[in-house]
């Protein structure tokens, strides 16, 4: 039970490349913090600096108020679950879980009690005498967690613990981890590249890119009020649509037409030239499924539906559009940064499952400009944050 304070943490490797650059995060006692970002963003390095497996180039790391920069991992009293579990293959499940206790020279009786308790919590009772090689992926994962929870560590650290499981098991384990953390109430730092895990597990989420902390906020705030283009594009699936936009006279001009914009948003973006508008797929709707008279006709446009994906509870429709080269380059750069690929400039809209739009057909769509964000295309900053 402890707080973890990171103050201006920098990690530079031998070639001078900063893998983690000036990151400051305070993790409250009992908080569940997620570090998320595309691969190579420094999230794992940061976690390994907390646990002491990587040296800190500069900055201060405080655990429970005590500076731990120069402490060896064994003196920090943290427990960690590795991505590949790192179980001891020559020991039984029982001995694997008991390992930290034996190192701490606890009495045989105490070890037995604690191991039994951990194995009960994680439903491992029937596997205690087996070797890790004979266990399934999910069971190994639970053994790794057992080894972490068996001793009273100050905090839990998880390094992409679910990335080696199949999709179904991942969902179950995710819930299990959340439940365990709530039950034990221990400060937890969790590294993942999976945004579902990030959004569902965390009290707060830290989004990183190339070693720099982009935004530290609750999942809801990240989704609704992203501070820049990167966070906006990284969080959410399917991702936010980015369209070239200009704001003039309280109206925003998009490739599909000109729509009225709320006054406060317009005031902040008026006359700034070419901007990047960000709007999530669910902020569009097929006009035909909206009740008569509830449609604001000034905010509708005709679109040609290229491809449609029906998922049962909703459906996605794809609307290709032409964009000028400068905008296309920017969108490509953005996709590359968040580990995805954009092949063409297209709009993804999420429609009500009842909508009868068909592929290769025209439809009238409603766009909710109230929820739109406008970004400065050069700096990437969100000009309408908080509105």
């Amino acid at each position: 039970m402890a707080t973890i304070e990171m103050k201006n943490i920098v990690k530079k490797y031998g070639d001078g490349f900063p893998a983690v650059n000036d990151v400051s995060i305070d993790v409250a006692d009992g908080e569940f913090l997620i570090l998320v970002g595309p691969s190579g963003c420094g999230k794992s390095t940061l976690l390994r600096m907390i646990v002491g497996l990587e040296d800190i180039t500069s900055g201060d790391m405080l655990i429970g108020g005590e500076r731990v920069n120069d402490l060896a991992p064994r003196d920090r009293n943290l427990s960690m679950v590795f991505q590949n579990y790192a179980l001891y293959p020559h020991l039984t499940v029982y001995e694997n879980i008991a390992f930290p206790l034996r190192l701490a020279k606890k009495s045989e009786k105490e070890i037995d009690e604690k191991v039994r308790e951990a194995s009960k919590t994680l439903d491992l009772d029937e596997h205690l005498q087996r070797k890790p090689a004979n266990l399934s992926g999910g069971q190994r994962q639970r053994v790794a967690m057992g080894r972490a929870i068996v001793r009273e560590a100050k905090a839990f650290l998880f390094d992409e613990p679910l990335s080696n499981l199949d999709a179904k098991l991942r969902g179950q384990m995710r819930t299990e981890i959340a439940r365990l953390q709530k039950k034990l109430g221990i400060t937890t730092v969790y590294v993942t590249h999976d945004q579902t895990e990030a959004m569902t597990l965390g009290d707060r989420v830290a989004v990183m890119k190339r070693g720099i902390l982009q935004q530290l906020a609750s999942p809801r705030e990240l989704y609704e009020q992203p501070v820049n283009l990167f966070v906006a594009g990284f969080i959410g699936s399917p991702p936010m649509n980015f369209l070239p936009a200009t704001v003039e006279g309280g109206k925003v001009t998009l490739p599909f037409g000109t729509f009225p914009l709320p006054a406060d948003k317009a005031a902040k973006t008026e006359g700034k030239g070419l901007l990047m508008a960000g709007i999530r797929p669910e902020h569009f709707e097929d006009v035909s499924v909206i009740e008569e008279g509830h449609v604001d006709t000034s905010r509708t446009f005709e679109a040609h539906i290229d491809v449609r994906e029906w998922l049962g509870d909703q459906q996605y429709a794809y609307v290709p559009y032409e964009a000028e080269a400068k905008v296309q380059d920017q969108l490509k750069e953005l996709a590359r940064e968040s580990d995805s690929d954009s092949l063409r400039t297209q709009l993804v809209v999420s429609l009500d499952a009842a909508s009868k739009v068909s592929e290769d057909d025209d439809a009238t769509l409603f766009i909710d400009t109230d929820k739109m964000h406008l970004f400065d295309p050069t700096s990437g900053d969100n000009l309408t944050v908080g509105l």
Binding site: R74, L87, H90, R151
Partner: protein
């Protein structure tokens, strides 16, 4: 199906041929060791002793009753075991450092080790003979243990560092996070995982020491430190012109037994895939 049967028969014949090729000399020496001295002298070409030519266990009893031979066995076992033990301990530590640490001169250490292993034994015997006499360790156990170690260490280091490289880094890191010192992580996690490698290195080292003849005969002068291979060559009996072939055969069989026992014992420890299950593959 037809080719399957054919290939199986072929395999069986091939195996049988190789087995005969390898084991015939061994079988012959065992056969020889059960014949009486007289039968060998007059010429007894059969595989099984001819009528009245069998000696039963007499040759073995004679060999084991011989003080010189008993002493040689004791020397061989003692020297080989100590050389193996020291060599494996040193090689384990060295190989761990080579596999895990980045230090300047790592390549140099590895290549030097290889060069030493390739050095012809004979070229070193002369200088060693002179040096050992100056140091006063000529005809002593350490006088043999040291060259055995220096010739087996390189191979042991190469074998073991390959094993250590196979062990994921996370194993040690997990142990350290769990509260282990570097030494504890090495002893409780890494060494058990490298056990197959340790035993492989041990067998190789033991073979070298046990089978060595050149050092054994050149660096010893009395039964004080003379190992079996050298002792057998001195085993001429009463008449130097009429070597006791069947006694020598019995001695050779006795000298082979410890190696067979050792291999059978260590073979169980060399289980491949001990690291299976450590990490998600």
């Amino acid at each position: 199906m037809k080719t399957d049967v054919k290939s199986r028969i072929g395999t069986a014949i091939g195996c049988a041929l190789i087995l005969i090729w390898c084991l015939l000399p061994v079988a012959w020496i065992i056969s020889l060791s059960f014949k009486s001295q007289e039968a060998v002298t007059v010429g007894s070409p059969g595989f099984f002793p001819s009528k009245g030519g069998g000696a039963g266990w007499q040759n073995y009893q004679d060999v084991l009753a011989d003080d010189q031979f008993r002493r040689a066995i004791f020397n061989s076992i003692g020297i080989s075991l100590i050389a193996t033990l020291l060599s494996v301990i040193l090689a384990t530590l060295a190989a761990y450092a080579i596999a895990r640490l980045e230090f300047s001169g790592k390549k140099f250490v590895l290549t030097t080790a290889l060069v030493i292993a390739m050095f012809p034994v004979v070229s070193l015997v002369g200088p060693l003979f002179d040096m050992w006499r100056t140091f006063g360790i000529y005809d002593t156990w350490p006088g043999l243990i040291i060259p055995y170690m220096s010739f087996t260490l390189p191979l042991a280091i190469w074998t073991l560092s390959a094993f250590f490289r196979e062990i994921p880094w996370e194993m040690e890191q997990a142990a350290q996070v769990d509260g282990a010192t570097s030494w504890q992580a090495f002893r409780k996690v890494i060494v058990p995982l490298a056990a197959p490698g340790v035993f492989t290195a041990a067998i190789l080292t033991f073979f070298f020491a046990w089978n060595d003849f050149v050092f054994g005969i050149s660096l010893t002068s009395t039964e004080n430190a003379r190992p079996i291979p050298a002792a057998l060559s001195f085993f001429v009996g009463a008449d130097p012109f009429n070597r006791p072939a069947s006694l020598l055969a019995a001695g050779a069989v006795v000298a082979t037994v410890p190696i067979v026992v050792l291999v059978l014992f260590f073979q169980r420890k060399i289980v491949a895939g001990l690291t299976a299950g450590a990490v998600k593959g």
